[in-house]
Amino acid sequence: MGAATSRDAMLDLAPFWSPIRLTLALATITTAVLLLIGTPLAWWLARSKSRWKEAISALVALPLILPPTVIGFYLLLALGPHGPGGWIAGMRGARTLAFTFEGLVLGSVVYSLPFVVQPIRAAFAGIGERPLEVAATLRASPWDAFWSVAVPLARPGFLTAAVLGFAHTVGEFGVVLMIGGNIPGETKVLSVALFELVETQRWSEAHLLAAGMVVFAFAVILAVFHLEKRGAEARR
């Protein structure tokens, strides 16, 4: 934050490292958590005939429509001392889950949920009943068939989900701004740092950071396409 004086001096890259590390950690952990809870959710949404299915589906998709500031505000309430987050925080003697890295993970999970659930759900739905029926007639229990047939067949969906979840968390801004409290090393992630640079009109640094994010995102997506292509060739 002390970089305000270097506005017109040489670019000082040191303040970037902490937000970059933090952002990568946040995106990695968030993606892992999302895959963990998104997979059974997507499975259920793809296959259940429950009458609650559409309602749950709409609920999951809600972050796609709601402005981040709205989600951020509700999260702030939920994480706070009067919400469930405060209750959890209270167990370890804290007041709130807001302004913590864990709180950011929670917020990012909620916000990126549809980006992970939708591709996996579509992939599961695309498999159809048949491969699972075949597996059942070949002695595979539903659990076995899920891992040995459904998951491998839905692999492209998982890849897309992971990339979208990761990229969306890296790019997420409104929610982390609302629940993060901009604490360096704890909740000050790249997008917030970038916002601050733009707000204070330190545009050359902002451009550098933004370009870095663009290059990173491009590299990640390219890598995934490459992996996917190699995977497809290997199966040929």
Binding site: L76, G80, G86, T96, A98, F99, Q201
Partner: protein
Amino acid sequence: MVPRARRPLMLGLGVQTPLCMALLGLLAFGSAARAADIKVAVAANFADPFKEIAAKFEASSGHRLVASLGATGQFYAQIVEGAPFDILLAADRATSAKAVREGYAVAGTAYTYAVGKLVLYSPTAGVVDGAATLKAVAFTRLAIANPNVAPYGVAAVETMQALDVLDALRPKLVQGNSIAQTFQFIATGNAELGFVALSQIATLAGGSRWIVPETMHAPISQDAVVMTGAKEIAAAQAFLTFLKTPQARSIIEKYGYGGGD
């Protein structure tokens, strides 16, 4: 680049009223897009007094005001990119001055329409008890506005420096990106107390508060300025003039702002 930051922060408006009320108010506000308008970029902290003043102004002048609420820095970036505002009601003095210097605003139109008052506030009674509260440090989180972005944040930092408690409090600080967000941190209980604008809590009863003496920080002057690209220069000038009338001044003061120049 940061597409979301470019979106007008419609929800940057404070939570003086309960959330749903604020949302409803915003909807009404946003849909005020009618013909023949003065487009005003309004610092989010000034949203409520603006609404009241605008109603009076529209009644007496026949002009219409179309307000965009948001962060001043963002408005500046939008103006540089050609946003069609007639008036900027900034949250500070520097941005208006810079706009004039760089030719985006009309020289000589800058007017300090409000001087913000900084207040240390907690929704819980008995938490805030003057400057002693800051020295006792009997809290876990103190919310301030990001001093890199918001003038109230600068004033908060200056106040803590003046009291020589900044270094001690640094680990307790959480920063809202705007003074509105800072208030949300406190209102939702995530931070026990924080430095906010008096205008945000002037109409709230209860809690505990300490209005920071103006000697402890540089004045939080909020300047209005007419944009060079304004389509309604005369009407814009008329509105600035209206801001100086006793009728407008009393509204501004009612909301906890100091007088202008």
